[in-house]
Symmetry: C2
DNA sequence: ATAAACTTTCATTATATTTTGAAAGTTCGA
DNA sequence: TCGAACTTTCAAAATATAATGAAAGTTTAT
């Protein structure tokens, strides 16, 4: 396989994985493109490479910037904006973990905390079952939350050597 | 808050979280309903509870069965099928991890392995950047894979006490 | 063999999400 | 202050995803 084809496959695979995990396919593809681009790219180049419209490119890049995965660059003497992706995969993983935790896990934990407090008749099977499921999910969610928090703060080598050491 | 309202909130929250993570909202809601139902339910009851059509209920239940989260039950002397969800939250988490690993992570790792092998000019920045990103992502993906494999096999208490011990 | 009870299918419809592109907005040099 | 270069917006269109429900299929008791 040669580079051009391989790059294409990478962009496709990343887009597919993204869409399976609730991330817009185009956003994942733009990210993939920037990940394998040694230089920062202009909006034009991204539009061209992925055959997407200006509006789509613009919004997608803004989202990527909000996710902390991409940044704008300016070249001296040029008006155009260039976009560049952090290539440190551990940083990327941490950043994604951080954002998804904030946007999705935290709100759910808040609701589960409320629902855990709901009082009811200890003899009512409907209440017992509700209470058990909610409480158990809440505990699990909090364990995940703590693990993510650690990961977000952690150094990559330390993190994986600790985790994998347990499991050997 | 009383039970009826709380149940409703739980179903909503679970549906929302599911849809953010690439799982059909209705599927997550049916699962939530079964999770808080002490008894197995019929298709009719599920349709009624969630205001969904027969076809939708049928397909969603089949999917949940394929995910290993729900099973059919038969009551003696009755033709009707009843549906019941495993209430063990750790089993559920493992089952979801297992399925998503198989359906999504494994195929991606396969592609990354191929792409890691692509040869190129070590002086070409395009090749160097491509190669580094692909290789690094591949390593990360394999660490995640190993961790999931361990989790899938693990006992809940052992797993969390090991993981959280590292991070205290 | 029949029919009632129940389940499954799938073409059609509905909904949700994503994309487009032209117009409006902004910035900057002359 | 003007206009060229560039960016952003957003209503409308396109696409993708999910839901409906009637018809077809299946099972079982008689």
């Amino acid at each position: 396989m040669e580079l051009t084809e391989a790059r294409q496959k990478f962009i496709e695979a990343w887009g597919k994985l993204g869409s399976e995990w609730g991330i817009n396919r185009t956003m994942a593809q733009v990210h993939a493109l920037l990940l394998i681009s040694p230089e920062a790219l202009t909006t034009e180049e991204i539009m061209e490479s992925l055959s997407i419209s200006r509006g789509n490119a613009n919004m997608t890049l803004r989202d990527l910037i909000n996710w902390g995965l991409v940044e704008k660059q300016h070249k001296p003497g040029e008006r155009k904006e260039y976009f560049f992706a952090d290539k440190d995969v551990w940083n990327i993983a941490r950043q994604v973990a951080k954002e998804r935790r904030k946007r999705e896990l935290d709100p759910v934990i808040k609701i589960l905390d409320e629902l855990s407090k709901v009082q009811g008749d200890a003899k009512d099977p409907a209440f017992k079952t509700f209470n058990k499921s909610v409480t158990d999910i809440n505990k699990l969610a909090k364990n995940v939350d703590k693990t993510l928090e650690t990961m977000i703060k952690a150094d990559e080598n330390w993190f994986w050597s600790s985790v994998l050491k347990i499991f050997k």
